[in-house]
């Protein structure tokens, strides 16, 4: 069954499709530039220690995103 949840709730190794961004315009453009767009599939590669950022892979790009900001992205799992 498919469920909609926040990117911050994803576990390491899981993949999901981006549904929506709840971020300001400026940050949305930055995320778009890095390849994060609605409908794209991403994978969580690892979490940094001490509740640190998430390492994600989307297409050919790897990037890091803070948990707080990951919480602002809705994904479909």
């Amino acid at each position: 069954m498919k469920i909609i949840q926040r990117l911050s709730e994803m576990q390491v190794g899981q993949t999901a499709t981006i549904q929506a961004f709840h971020v300001d315009t400026a940050f949305k453009y930055r995320l778009n530039g890095l390849g994060l767009r609605v409908g794209k599939t991403l994978e969580v590669i690892r979490h940094a220690p001490f509740d640190g950022p998430y390492q994600l892979r989307i297409g050919s790009t790897e990037l890091m995103l803070r948990k707080r900001d990951a919480h602002m992205i809705e994904v479909l799992m």
Binding site: G33, A48, G52
Partner: protein, 595 residues
């Protein structure tokens, strides 16, 4: 003259390409956002001179951060005859979005799919013909780093330059938003012209990351790695420095002294004891700086800095900073000035100012020279590297202290996303360019204020006329005595005080000044200083040098970047206060404990 601009996303290789085309040495690193200033160069193309401009990397033409504003401002105020859109071929699936934006502005362009070697290795094949037809822009594969595909690229650039119509200077239209249609166009274009393998991403990078980003060992490994590098710089650079000092000493005794013996005593003293000793002492440390920068270039080009940001972000966020701030601190180990300019990628003013407040505590290569000099003079060969490393640790201690104290004033909620590029190896060519660049920078600084600095120190220590040099009745002695109520609690004597005063201009002057004040050079200078002060005083002096007001160039950069007199004042006064408190605290405590 026709004008070509290089545009692309961060870390697409624009600066590497720019260096190749212009023979220049713009700073390159495997870190998104190295170029923050406009670099331009002249080039002979198609029988005429052409100006080529390297713009900062941007994700999007909308531009909200300062570096993106630079690009918008440039396009709004300059006629551009041709844009070279530099795209990382491996990431063509997302990086072409910038191309689509430029196309909607009717920008005359050539698309250069850079890092073709890397893309080929990961099994990505690109139909450049198809992209050329679909977008109406000549599209070519090349490798800026290894120099492949250049002649074809030049042909395409010349051909396009001949036929295309320049885009006149005018403000960017606001309606080039990344709308749904553009996204679909991008996806279709990529689907029809690019063949991605099922498994993307380098397995090598994955393997290294599984160790480098290990949840438990990642951080210890990072600090261990740093320690090894600083040890290596010391081990390799130390003997080179001694060799250089010996060369200068021999030259002085065998050539300079006999040659100038006919001159009047004062002039002779000025030329040998002032200008030569001062400059030679500073110059003898250049090999250490070069070795340091070769290592630095390697680390920067490797892509490990982004991993450091990943590992440290959580701890930094507790201090009101982020992973980028940490990387800027590391870059500050080279020179504080580019690190300060690197904060332009931050949009939140609070975050940017707080980062700019802590960067000057970074033990830069100029301060490294002072510390290598002092530790070699006052500590045993076994202890010296450890003492040196303790000063790097001190950098982080004062950074943490300062950030925690000031974070309430510089609030930031800036979201933070950063690319983690694949690991790469720099070419020998890039490393050599970097080393040479540092020598060139040194020569430029040496001929300007280092010379002026040592000459002024000589005047202060030898005037009024006939006085015993650097004695209590010389000008420097008088100034030193005047300052002594303030600095003697930190164990800093009048001679060291003069060096500190000139160190305000540039830290390289400090050792040059000491050479002039003590009237000695090379190993004799080290012995002379060791006879005058003990290790407690030396360490207190080094703590002061590390923390107090950074050099004049740093202050000037803070002023232009922050555009605030108030902030500039804080970043002058706070380090000075902290330096005194830490040094005096250390000195008094050590003396109290009987050292």
């Amino acid at each position: 003259m026709k004008r070509i601009a290089l545009i692309g996303m961060p870390n697409a290789g624009k600066s590497t390409l720019f260096n190749r085309m212009s023979g220049g040495s713009a700073k390159v690193a495997n870190w998104p956002g190295v170029t923050v200033d406009l670099l331009s160069s002249k080039l002979l193309l198609d029988g005429g001179m052409v100006e080529i401009v390297d713009l900062p990397g941007i994700y999007d033409l909308h531009g909200f951060s300062d570096d993106e504003q630079v690009v918008r401002h440039f396009l709004a105020n300059n006629t551009v005859d041709l844009v070279l859109i530099v795209v990382n071929a491996s990431q063509i699936d997302r990086q072409l979005s910038l191309t689509l934006q430029l196309k909607s502005l009717n920008m005359p362009a050539v698309i250069l799919l850079n890092m073709a070697d890397e893309a080929k290795k990961s099994g990505i094949s690109i139909d450049t013909e198809k992209i050329s037809v679909e977008l109406g822009y000549s599209t070519l594969l090349l490798s800026a780093k290894y120099g492949q595909g250049y002649s074809e690229a030049y042909n395409a650039i010349e051909a396009t330059l001949r036929t295309s119509k320049a885009r006149p200077a005018r403000a960017l239209e606001q309606d080039f938003a990344v709308d749904k249609a553009m996204e679909t166009e991008l996806d279709n274009l990529v689907k029809h012209s690019v063949d991605f393998p099922a498994q993307i991403g380098s397995t090598m990078t994955e393997k290294i990351d599984s160790v480098a980003l290990h949840p438990v060992f990642g951080l210890p490994l990072f600090f261990g790695f740093m320690f090894v590098i600083f040890q290596a710089v010391y081990t390799i650079g130390g003997p080179l420095q001694e060799g250089m000092a010996w060369l200068f000493e021999t030259f002085r005794d065998l050539a300079l002294v006999p040659l100038l013996s006919g001159l009047p005593a004062l002039l002779n003293g000025f030329l040998i004891g002032g200008v030569f000793d001062g400059l030679a002492t500073v110059a003898s440390f250049v090999p250490i700086v070069i070795v340091f920068f070769l290592f630095m270039a390697f680390v920067e080009d490797s892509g490990y800095l982004s991993r450091a940001a990943f590992l440290m972000d959580s701890l930094m966020s507790r201090m009101g900073l982020d992973g980028r701030s940490f990387v800027m601190l590391l870059m500050g180990f080279g020179c504080n000035v580019p690190a300060l300019m690197g904060t332009r990628t931050m949009r939140s003013r609070g975050l940017r100012l707080l980062t700019m407040l802590v960067i000057p505590f970074s033990l830069c290569s100029a301060r490294l020279q002072v510390f290598v000099f002092m530790t070699t003079a006052l500590f045993s060969p076994q202890h010296a590297p450890i003492v040196l490393f303790s000063l790097y640790i001190m950098t982080f201690v004062v950074v943490i202290l300062t950030a925690l104290l000031f974070k309430g004033h510089f609030n930031s909620q800036e979201p933070f996303a950063l690319e983690l590029p694949p690991y790469r190896l720099p070419t020998y060519r890039q490393m050599l360019f970097r080393g040479w660049h540092e020598v060139a920078v040194f020569i430029k600084r040496a001929t300007k204020f280092i010379t002026v600095g040592v000459v002024m120190v000589w005047v202060l220590t030898n005037m009024p006329y006939g006085v015993e040099p650097a004695s209590a009745s010389s000008w420097s002695g008088i100034i030193g005595e005047f300052m002594s109520p303030v600095l003697s609690p930190a164990g800093i004597n009048p001679e060291l005080t003069i060096a500190l005063i000139f160190g305000f201009v540039a830290k390289e002057i400090v050792i040059g000044a000491l050479a002039v004040i003590y009237g000695l050079e090379g190993s004799a200078l080290m012995t002379g200083i060791a006879e005058q002060i003990d290790w407690v005083q030396a360490y207190s002096f080094m703590l002061f040098t590390l923390i107090y007001t950074p050099c004049l160039s740093t202050i000037a950069t803070i002023r232009t970047e922050a555009k605030s007199g108030w902030f500039t004042t804080v970043s002058l006064v706070w380090p000075l206060t902290l330096a005194w408190v830490v040094s005096a605290g250390f000195y008094q405590a050590a003396r109290f404990l009987g050292y």
